[in-house]
Symmetry: C2
Subunit: 240 residues, 2 copies
């Protein structure tokens, strides 16, 4: 039996907690969804960075040929960036064969925190089955790291973690090994019959709706619309 832990906020994550585990970073609204979409649409790689300054520095180093700066602050495209953080922007014509330097408020910082994990994956509703299948071929314990929202619990990430836990347990023998894993599973059980309503009405869903990004919520909730599993290799996200 393998152990599955969930963390609702990245803040307290320690290196010792992830050093032997596969880590799945979940940021349903919207980093997970945008990164999976970009990799599905054949970008060359996605390089997550925690701060915009680091993104500009890195582009300086890599040059701007076939490099896009992508991400948001307060939900909106960062000034000087090429793309924001709406998965609808990450079509094949835009991102195909490009290197994406990606900086979002919650998700990219969470991914960067996982660099000492032996395996870091990106998951959400949109790649749930592919992710679960991939994880179940491995043998490490698992930590699902919810990116949360500015350090706080976010319902949508906990629901995705709960869904992944439910699917993992359907296919293999997993122990829900901490309080947050049990809570995520229970929250998903309760909300699953009205998942879209719950996510549209959650804190981040309402905020994105107010910015005019309501359609992104539908894209984030399109379960299994994408079959790729992004994995972090030497600081770069590529298909597993």
């Amino acid at each position: 039996m393998r152990n599955l832990e969930v963390t609702f906020v990245p803040g307290s994550l320690s290196e010792s907690r992830i050093k032997d585990k596969t880590t799945v970073v979940v940021d349903v609204l919207r980093a997970s969804t945008s990164i999976c979409t970009a990799i599905h649409n054949l970008c060359r790689q996605v390089i997550p960075v925690a701060e915009p300054e680091r993104a500009f520095e890195l582009r300086e180093k890599l040059g701007s040929d076939n490099v896009l700066l992508c991400g948001e602050r307060a939900g909106k495209k960062i000034e000087g960036f090429d793309l924001g953080n709406s998965p609808s922007e990450y079509g094949r014509k835009t991102v195909g064969e490009k290197t994406l330097i990606f900086c979002s408020t919650n998700g990219s910082g969470a991914i960067v925190k996982c660099r000492t994990s032996p395996e870091t994956l990106i998951g959400g509703f949109i790649n749930a089955t592919a992710l679960v299948r991939y994880v179940n071929t491995g043998d490490r314990d698992l930590l699902i790291l919810c990116s949360g929202r500015e350090g706080n619990f976010s319902l949508e990430d906990s629901l995705a973690a709960g869904m992944l836990a439910a699917m993992l347990q359907e296919q293999s023998d997993w122990n829900l090994a901490n309080d947050a894993a049990k809570a995520a599973r229970l929250l998903y059980n309760n909300y699953s019959p009205r998942l879209e309503e719950a996510v549209r009405e959650c804190d981040h869903g309402r905020y994105l709706g107010s910015l005019g990004f309501g359609e992104d919520i539908g894209l984030a909730l399109a379960v299994d619309s994408i079959g790729v599993v992004p994995v972090l290799q030497e600081g770069k996200l590529v298909p597993a």
Copy 2:
């Protein structure tokens, strides 16, 4: 209608978030329970401090007459302290008329973080009705701050927050104003028929059981066994 927010971990709490709100700090296992017990048992005051060093400094300043150092690290009494953090230690003969300098791993740090709130209260299962009655006589919005466990979500604190939310809503018009408030309410609804089992089996419950503090869980879960509401006044907890 008043707004009720919940925070599952103290880490990200900002001063701006609490500056206009009444704050209830919840640390079921065991700071809330021990502090309420001490105040019920007529201690003079409880002074929360975040670090043991600060506790020793403060005793140096106050003198040791009628002053007790109380608290724990890793669940165990701190070396050089008079009491640990088991509510069973806080009887009237021990704490009556004494000043308690209190330092625990999660709860006391969370209380200290709330010093800029206009009103900080201590709540748990043991004083739920008294707390809810007191809060419902006020008019500020409310934030229930779960102390969590070493920066992580703890099920027992979320369940107490959910119970308080349910009781507040029974008596008055409260809006569950963030994701964590909705989640806490839902977790409590689900776990309430088997609350004791859930808390004994949660991360912190199992740890305390392994240290021989299983009886403390029963004390923490004795709903309404105590009728006091501790309030922070100039850095000191006294009856409201």
